[in-house]
């Protein structure tokens, strides 16, 4: 699929901009602060309803405006769809698909993107929540049902934590509080948590060969990259639960319930849920050593790129139920971060994709293999370069 037209109204720095795009490679070139990233961010936002730069939506709306509107025409398998999204800070988004109002969730999956950004380095060097989000975002792209499971699980954990907190306080005061209802929340947390956890483990299993292959290509055959799921439900050490078992939601549900029973006293004491997908991590290793802490800056970059490339391969291959799951590739300011060798390898790998959108401050940063349309971005205006 590819985006053929994009129109922004009051999005970030843009009061109004309309651009047409083509399949193949497009580079947005311009100095810092001119609005290159804002363009690609809007496209990525349409595909996931989240931004890689900020957590809230408020920053997406131009200062002084009430709402931002993103419209994009997506060409997919010979059909064209018009996606429109109205972003109002602090309130629910409103969506239209081919001119008719629809629930925002219906837009998810219409446009698929894989975005490479300098922030990706945090996948390797940062905290577990970034890696969990990486899994969950990809799961949602592959099956929109997961969006519901995710929000249900978050809600259940919040409720359960609130209960554990008051139960702890009540117990210290010598009463039982509402601890009777904890069993109910355990059951709900186990049932939704198991679906999320099993989904992630299955995802990593499918992603693994792609990550290994991509890492080999980006790094030029140095070392083996490995991804595995680290579940908080096993008490660590030797009794790591076999991956195969973790792909079965029923088995996981039973294990989660068992772990919650085991940890109940400690959970009440501390007032938080100590077990479940919200405490899990994805372990990334290079040649047997954890990437976090051991990998060099360059190796970390290669790993981050490998994760994104693997997502692209997975979406392209397995998500193609309607014949065209190939996502739009967005490379936001990444070339400036890479050394020449990695730059060239990455360029070779992404060049054959149906649509590649690149942002760069200096045209020389973009490898020669990625020649295509060049659009100059200056002061909120987009003009076709030479």
């Amino acid at each position: 699929m590819y985006v053929s037209d994009l129109a922004l109204t009051d999005f970030r720095s843009y009061r109004e901009v309309v651009i047409s795009l083509e399949a193949g490679i497009t580079a947005f070139v311009g100095q810092n602060g001119q609005g290159k990233t804002n363009l690609v961010e809007s496209i990525a936002y349409l595909s996931t309803f989240s931004s890689h730069r900020v957590a809230g939506d408020a920053a997406l709306v131009r200062a002084g405006a009430e709402r931002a509107i993103v419209q994009a025409k997506v060409q997919r398998g010979g059909r064209s769809n018009l996606l429109e999204l109205e972003i109002v800070a602090g309130r629910a988004n409103r969506a239209r698909l081919n001119r008719s109002p629809t629930r925002p969730r219906e837009l998810l999956g219409q446009l698929r993107c894989v975005l490479f950004a300098p922030e990706d380095l945090a996948l390797i060097k940062g905290d577990p929540d970034g890696r969990r989000r990486f899994c969950d975002d990809l799961l949602t792209l592959l099956g929109p049902r997961m969006a519901g499971v995710r929000s249900d699980y978050e809600r259940v954990v919040k409720q359960r934590n609130a209960l554990l907190k008051t139960a702890g306080a009540a117990r210290r005061a010598g009463s039982d509080g509402d601890i009777r209802t904890l069993d109910v929340w355990d059951a709900k947390a186990a049932a939704t948590g198991a679906q999320l956890l099993a989904g992630r483990v299955r995802l990593l299993r499918d992603l693994r060969p792609h990550v290994q292959h991509a890492y080999e290509q980006v790094s030029g055959g140095q070392g083996t990259a490995e991804v595995s799921y680290r579940a908080s439900l096993s008490s660590g050490g030797d009794d790591q639960v076999a991956e195969e078992e973790l792909t079965q939601p029923d088995a996981v549900e039973a294990k989660l319930l068992e772990a919650m029973g085991r940890l109940r006293a400690r959970e009440i004491e501390r007032g938080v849920s100590l077990v479940g997908p919200h405490r899990d991590d994805v372990e990334l290793t290079l040649g047997g050593l954890p990437a976090k802490g051991y990998a060099s800056h360059g190796e970390s970059w290669s790993f981050a790129l490998a994760l994104r490339l693997a997502s692209y391969e997975l979406l392209k291959g397995e998500g193609s139920w309607d014949g065209d799951g190939e996502p739009v590739l967005i490379l936001d300011d990444v070339f400036a971060e890479l050394d020449t060798r990695r730059r060239e390898r990455l360029a070779e790998l992404v060049a054959p994709a149906e649509q590649v959108l690149i942002t760069a401050a200096v045209p020389q940063d973009v490898p020669a293999t990625l020649t295509g349309v060049r659009l100059d971005v200056a002061d909120g205006k987009v003009t076709r370069g030479d």
Partner: protein
């Protein structure tokens, strides 16, 4: 900010659910510009609703007597009891004209974040009601969200030892809709709760 009485009114209105500061201001100015007779009618309505309306001592539904209309109605089937979260839900189910049993209004759902536990709901009253054995079937009609589902699970566990028929409302596809427009979660639920057809 306004002076004295007007500011008080804006603040009071702003505490109502679904009314933000801007709407509160708008309503306040509307009231200020209205006919005095209209305003005192509104004021009376507000006062009387608090004086007159109470909760049915049996089911917790809204009533102006000690027992609500449904609990007093002898044509109702006393063997079937439908458990709902709010009095609004009674109205919704009554509109269907399908249900001829009686109701029990819990007054909310289990919600630890808001500090609502089983003791804050009318669950003890429910258990007392079920003790005499007149009710043989309980239909649990709490909302199909996280809190409603948790409340249903809790109730089912409480009711299990009593040996009653307990059922939960089905969730799934809306009538008159198109399958293709159903969201994935609803459609997934509908699949889970599918029924075998007699052939």
């Amino acid at each position: 900010m306004f002076d004295g009485a007007l500011q008080d009114l804006v603040e009071e209105l702003g505490r109502l659910p679904g009314v933000g500061p801007k709407s509160a201001q708008r309503i306040a100015f509307y009231i200020l510009a209205s006919d005095p007779a209209d305003v005192s009618r509104l004021a009376t309505a507000l006062r009387v609703v608090k004086e007159k309306v109470r909760f049915c001592e049996i089911c917790g539904n809204i009533s102006e007597e000690t027992q609500c209309r449904i609990c007093r109605d002898t044509r109702r089937n006393g063997a079937v009891l439908c458990v709902v979260e709010e009095a609004k839900d009674v109205v919704a189910i009554e509109r269907t004209r399908e249900f001829r049993g009686r109701y029990h209004v819990l007054g909310g759902a289990i919600n630890p974040i808001e500090g609502v536990g089983p003791d804050n709901l009318r669950i003890r009253e429910l258990m007392t009601r079920l003790a005499d054995g007149e009710v043989t079937e309980v239909i649990i009609a709490t909302d199909p969200n996280v809190e409603g589902e948790a409340t249903a699970t809790y109730l089912i566990r409480m009711l299990r030892p009593l040996g009653l028929t307990v059922s939960r409302l089905a969730s799934g596809l809306p009538v008159g809709g198109d399958l293709e427009y159903a969201d994935e979660v609803t459609l997934g639920r509908a699949f889970e709760g599918r029924r075998t057809v007699d052939v």
